[in-house]
């Protein structure tokens, strides 16, 4: 580590540690996906193509609970919408980009690569770019390799709940959302969405409770706080 530390810039050190920590978490994804009934190839394809942890867990969660694939894909996509906002935040760091960099950089635009890029000093564009690429590529490589490992090991361990993997997935969701529970409105939305989703579970078709959670967020976010004149105003220009 001392050797590595001497040779790597802070952005690259952060990228490596984030990649290892995030990649390790793919072990439980691989195991849970197989436990939900997907095979090794499908599990691996999810990590290669979707490449967004929360969305992948949601996908296999819906399948594991007996939901139809279309609902799994819709839930996964809903959860991935936040990734769309990262490109905007990264634009000043990464633009202009062309060709293969644009395709590949789009794929590795995730929570972690954005976080490490934005964590670098604002004036140091090179460190920010390095943070993005090292984290994005590092997580991609480890995430996919360890997904395969989890799927293979998962097939041998039998019941994943004996290993606490169901609790691990729940804790992972909680860990991902934790930093966003800072303000009161977010906490209220989290509480209401959870209670309604739980209350609907025995009655509604699988996957619907989670969709209703999204509706709670839209309803809570629609009205303009304080200064807003009319919540029903059709357009918010300028």
């Amino acid at each position: 580590m001392a050797v590595l530390g001497a040779r790597l810039t802070p952005a690259r050190q952060q990228a490596l540690s984030v990649s290892i920590a995030t990649g390790a978490y793919a072990l439980s994804f691989g195991a849970l996906s197989v436990a939900a009934g997907l095979d090794l190839w499908q599990t691996s394809a999810l990590s290669l193509l979707v490449f967004s942890g929360g969305s992948q867990f949601a996908f296999v969660g819906v399948i594991g609970a007996g939901g139809i694939p279309a609902v799994a894909a819709a839930t996964s996509t809903f959860l991935g919408i936040r990734n769309g906002f990262y490109g905007v935040a990264l634009a000043p760091v990464l633009r202009p980009w062309h060709g293969w960099r644009s395709w590949w950089g789009t794929q590795v635009t995730i929570d972690e690569s954005t976080a490490v890029a934005i964590a670098q000093p604002e004036h140091d564009a090179e460190a920010r770019r390095a943070g993005f690429w090292w984290t994005g590529v590092g997580v991609y490589v480890l995430w996919n390799a360890i997904t395969i490992l989890g799927a293979l090991v998962g097939q041998r361990v039998g019941d994943p709940s004996a290993w606490g993997l169901d609790a691990a997935a729940a804790a992972a969701f909680l860990g991902l959302v934790w930093p966003r529970l800072a303000d009161r409105r977010a906490l209220a939305v989290a509480a209401v969405a959870s209670v309604i989703a739980l209350a609907l579970t025995p009655f509604a078709p699988v996957g619907v409770p989670i969709m209703v959670a999204a509706v709670v967020a839209v309803a809570a976010g629609w009205p303009t706080p304080r200064a807003g004149t009319t919540a029903a105003a059709p357009k918010e220009n300028s």
Binding site: P69, G87, F173, V177
Partner: protein, 107 residues
């Protein structure tokens, strides 16, 4: 088509949708995302989906509600998160607590 084939369609579809979402973000002119309502809702959707998923993952089995070893495991995870423990530690300890309790014959 078989359910297996439909699962493949959903995987490829989810992958394509995710790539498009990311691509749109990178190609959106910056001023278009000045709309505060859009930004607000996007942040809250992430919060509501992830907490609802955590709640369902902790308290449901199929279509039934159930309290078992996952509940204390999540309580420990919450304390660790509050104490700012690293992500991977939180996930590993939660698994350990649930596995330990089940090994002891509870939940």
């Amino acid at each position: 088509m078989t359910p297996y084939a439909w699962t493949w369609v959903a995987i490829v579809g989810a992958g394509a949708a995710m790539w498009l979402i990311k691509a749109v973000g990178h190609r959106v002119p910056e001023h278009a995302l000045d709309n505060p309502r859009l930004v607000r809702i996007a942040a809250l959707v992430t919060v509501s989906l992830l907490t609802a998923l955590a709640a369902l993952q902790t308290l449901t089995v199929g279509k039934g509600l159930e309290v078992d070893a996952r509940v204390p495991a999540l309580a420990v995870a919450a304390v660790l998160l509050w104490r700012k423990a690293p992500f991977i530690v939180v996930v590993a300890v939660a698994a350990g607590v649930a596995a330990g309790l089940r090994a002891l014959g509870w939940g």
